[in-house]
């Protein structure tokens, strides 16, 4: 492992094929050589997290690698990407290692990340657990990014959860609310691990803006008097919209009663609180929005006052409050890498997500019609 072209490729971040049983030794050797070749410029290996990313197929692998590449400059991790792919040429496991070196001002180099990719055909997942345990950096926590719905659930439940300190999901990948059931089941199996959801974090800015409308001097009174809540969403983003509605329902203590489809292709949920009925609508619509797919959230009170946030552009939202001219505010659309960093921080331990996910599942289970026909 001491020839220079290979070290140069490694330091440039290109994948280097290695024997599966020699990954750790090969990494150590390459870093040592790279450090010598770097002369005065020091290279430090660093990891604050082990990140495991199970994937299935080349498309999911490519998406995972893109995320890891974006994450690397901001957060030092050792990433283990596990890929099941029957389309590969070899019948056995194959491994590559990559570095993510970032130059510091003044010429010093600092490695923020190293990435190990292990790929194999269906059935190879039987080896993945042992490999992960062997390759985890000691003394730092492990996050499993369960982002590919195609990856076999048994890999997570049998092998990875036992070595995981934080489970990261992405409800935005659910093309149908029914898929939230699977994630809720996984979340239950993962108890008591902290669970982060990129979809939930993606909704964070909208939730904060919406909540901000009920800060003083307005206060929570309009929420007590709410009679109708509508969440407008792009087609295929029903799961995000349901999660948004669930958040409002959980926070306001609404008891779900029934659900039914509406003529516009949406869904109506009936709630009750303190004897008062409240209607919650998921309304499919068209318009510019970020990956969350949410276009607008609107509350109408018993006195017909309306409080709404409505996207007017990808990065812009209009706030509508009674008696005040509409106000345009900037709405950030964080990248997946930014969300992934947040998921590994304090915001990735939000217990409210579990409550809202369970509530969303409860809502979608209300009405057989709803659950069945839109499946």
């Amino acid at each position: 492992m001491s020839n220079h072209p290979e070290i140069e490729r490694f330091v440039r971040g290109e994948p280097i094929a290695v024997e599966v049983g020699e990954i750790e030794r090969a990494l150590g050797s390459l870093w040592q050589e790279a450090s010598r070749a770097g002369e005065a410029a020091a290279i430090s290996r660093a990891a604050l997290w082990n990140v495991i990313v199970p994937t299935c197929g080349p498309a999911a692998l490519a998406a995972s690698k893109k995320l890891v590449d974006e994450l690397a400059p901001a957060l030092p991790t050792r990433t283990l990407t596990l890929c099941l792919d029957d389309g590969r040429r070899g019948a056995g496991l194959e491994a590559t290692i990559e570095s993510h070196v970032v130059s510091q001002p003044g010429g010093a180099r600092m490695v923020y990340s190293e990435e190990i990719t292990i790929a194999g055909p269906s059935g190879a997942q039987g080896h993945f657990g042992a490999l992960v345990r062997a390759l985890q950096v000691a003394g730092v926590p492990t996050a499993t990014f369960w982002l590919d719905p195609g990856a076999p659930e048994s890999l997570l439940t049998r092998e990875l959860l036992a070595v995981t300190n934080r489970l990261v999901l992405d409800t935005t990948t659910c093309l149908h609310p029914r898929q939230l059931f699977d994630l809720d089941r996984l979340a239950a199996a993962a108890q008591p691990l902290p669970i982060a959801d990129l979809g939930w974090l993606r909704l964070g800015a909208l939730r904060a803006l919406f909540a901000g409308m009920f800060d003083p001097p307005v206060g929570g009174a309009p929420l007590v008097q709410a009679r109708r809540v509508a969440v407008e969403h792009r087609a295929g983003c029903d799961a995000s919209a349901l999660l948004m509605l669930a958040w409002i329902g959980v926070q306001l203590g609404w008891r779900p009663v029934r659900a039914a489809q509406t003529s516009d292709g949406g869904v109506r949920f009936d709630f009750t609180r303190a004897g008062q009925p409240i209607a919650g609508h998921l309304v499919p619509a068209e318009g510019a929005c970020g990956r969350s797919g949410i276009l607008a959230v609107e509350v109408t009170t018993a006195s017909d006052d309306r409080y709404a946030i409505r996207r007017t552009a990808i990065d812009q939202t209009q706030l509508q409050t009674p008696g005040v001219p509409p106000k345009l505010v900037k709405l950030d659309s964080p990248s997946d890498a930014e969300l992934a960093i947040a998921a590994l921080g304090a915001r990735g331990r939000d217990p409210l997500f579990r409550r809202c996910l369970a509530y969303a599942r409860q809502l979608w289970s209300l009405e057989p019609d709803t659950a069945g026909s839109r499946r």
Binding site: A205, A208, A211, G212, F214, G220, V224
Partner: protein, 537 residues
């Protein structure tokens, strides 16, 4: 849930229910709607720090949706002209640049300007009228923060006029029973440094301020306390089990605190002539950092519990004995030299500086804290202008291992040093010895580093952002209390008195150092006399 407690703090607005949707949000700590009045709005501080910080807070959605800024200064300009100036300032100094035009449009709609004189009550009555109009138009309920970014000579008149114009009424006594209904609107006053120029003036200013305001309304700002690493000192010490047991005279040999600036006095020669490094840096920034470093664990993380412990440290600073003064205090002035590859003039050649000035631009001190924890541990402080680089750090030098098992191998075995970097590159590094690979028992120093930027992937917020937000939230933990200010002046004023006595007797012991160096040889002797040396930060 709507009926459960635990939402944001009770509102001062009439009949406002808590907002249940705030629970669990990252932006859970959002202040109540308010107006911030900035006195000295045409000055550098407002332009470089305050408006950019408020813009950044808005961008991060940390300010309430209903929030207004009123600039107040002598110059007569229109709202629009003031907005345009502040736009340029934010474009130049905001943490995230360039500014977002749409966000700025929304933000700047609530920026206003009111011309007036600081000593003129009529100007404050006009301000009161203007605030009433703004609050009515924006649906605000009278919460106000007044930021005194004026020259210190204006602090007392501004506060007096705030009182006479009834712009900042005192809250009910803390011990008074709370009347039913929402609390009255708040009025808080942020006072910039310097708070006094010596013990007498600080006491007089405190007396003046307390005639109008309750101590709970006063936020004496020291922007060092808003820096992430300074706050991290508390977390580092009190959230990690391994450091506090060694944070004492059994394990610590000595502590060095360096506050170095690479710049000279620039255009502030007039101010600096009166202040010097002792007033400009040591009395506030360095002693505040020292008190946080050395304090006992507070009983709670609340403003008074933390400040009570800091105060004990300041009160425990041993007065420097007359007989040891020269061995414990070094002052110096920079001479011509080099900075960033450019030839730079000496202090006495700077604009607005007397050619025979005896003002110190560098000070190095050896001090002791008379407490059980720190008995016998010297603290070496130094601060200066035109030093080789801008850096502020605390370096904790631990005692050597009691028995050197491996013998001395040249200079290779060094005591452990824990370096807490406050600026720039906020972080913490621990130096320790490690065996060099190979058959020989050679030991080399290595460093284990934590840096905020690379570990958390986010840039820490500007100190002013944190402190302005804390004031709006009513959290005074990171602000200095009246008794802290007086305790630090008590210690510093003794040194100033001695210098004044020396000057009166014609004995001015003022060394010089070339710009771009780490200070005069006398500063090195302060440590070499004890068998120690300054760490190169």
């Amino acid at each position: 849930m709507l009926d459960t407690p635990g939402g944001p703090p009770a509102s001062s607005s009439p009949s406002v229910l808590p907002n249940p949707l705030r629970e669990g949000l990252a932006e859970e700590r959002v202040p109540e709607p308010a107006v911030m009045v900035i006195f000295g709005a045409s000055g550098d501080l407002a332009r470089r720090k305050l408006l950019p910080a408020l813009y950044s807070l808005t961008r991060d959605r940390l300010l309430p949706a209903r929030f207004a800024i009123v600039g107040f200064a002598r110059r007569a300009v229109s709202d629009d002209a003031f907005r345009e100036e502040m736009r340029a300032a934010c474009n130049e100094f905001a943490r995230r640049r360039p500014i977002d035009p749409e966000l700025w449009a929304a933000f700047s709609r609530n920026i206003f300007y009111q011309p007036g004189e600081y000593e003129d009550l009529a100007s404050f009555l006009s301000l009161k009228q203007r605030l009433g109009d703004i609050e009515r138009d924006l649906g605000l309920h009278g919460n106000r923060v007044f930021y005194l970014a004026t020259p210190p000579s204006s602090f007392a008149p501004v506060i007096r006029n705030l009182g006479q114009a009834e712009l900042a009424p005192k809250p009910p006594p803390a011990t008074a029973p709370k009347p039913p209904g929402p609390p009255p609107p708040f009025a808080r006053v942020i006072i910039e440094k310097p708070f006094g120029t010596d013990l007498e003036t600080a006491r007089a200013l405190n007396r003046d301020v307390h005639e109008t305001l309750d101590e709970r309304q006063i936020y004496r700002i020291d922007h060092y306390l808003g820096k992430e690493t300074v706050q991290n000192l508390l977390v580092f010490r009190f959230a990690n089990g391994i450091f506090e047991p060694i944070w004492n005279n059994r394990f610590v040999d000595h502590v060095q605190i360096t506050g170095a600036e690479s710049i000279g006095v620039e255009a502030r020669g007039g101010y600096f002539e009166q202040a010097g490094s002792m007033r400009d840096m040591v009395q506030n920034h360095l002693l505040q950092v020292l008190s946080l470093f050395a304090m006992e664990p507070p009983i709670a993380f609340d403003p008074d519990a933390v400040r009570d412990e800091k105060l004990k440290v300041l009160k425990a600073l041993r007065a420097i004995p007359e007989s040891d003064f020269e061995r414990q205090v070094v002052r110096a002035q920079y001479a011509a030299g080099s900075s960033a590859g450019q030839a730079v003039p000496g202090y006495r050649q700077e604009p607005n500086v007397s050619p025979s000035s005896t003002t110190e631009t560098f000070v190095a001190l050896k001090l002791f804290i008379d407490s059980w924890r720190w008995a016998g541990v010297p603290f070496y402080l130094r601060s200066g202008k035109r030093l080789p680089k801008r850096v502020t750090e605390i370096a904790v030098h631990f005692k050597e291992a009691p028995h050197l098992l491996f013998g001395r191998r040249g200079e290779s075995i060094r005591p452990n040093v824990l370096a807490i970097r406050i600026q720039p590159d906020e972080g913490i590094a621990l130096n320790f010895g490690s065996k060099l690979p190979g058959p020989a028992m050679e030991i080399a120093p290595v460093s284990m580093e934590f840096r905020y930027g690379s570990s958390f992937g986010v840039e820490p917020p500007e100190a002013y952002e944190r402190l302005l937000l804390d004031c709006l939230l009513g959290d005074s933990t990171l602000f200095t209390r009246a008794d802290e200010v007086e305790a630090s002046w008590t210690w510093v004023s003794r040194i100033h008195r001695r210098w004044a006595e020396d000057a009166a007797a014609g004995r001015v012991d003022l060394a010089t150092y070339p710009a771009g160096s780490w200070g005069p040889p006398a500063a090195d002797r302060l440590l070499t006399a004890d068998g120690r040396a300054w760490r190169l930060p």
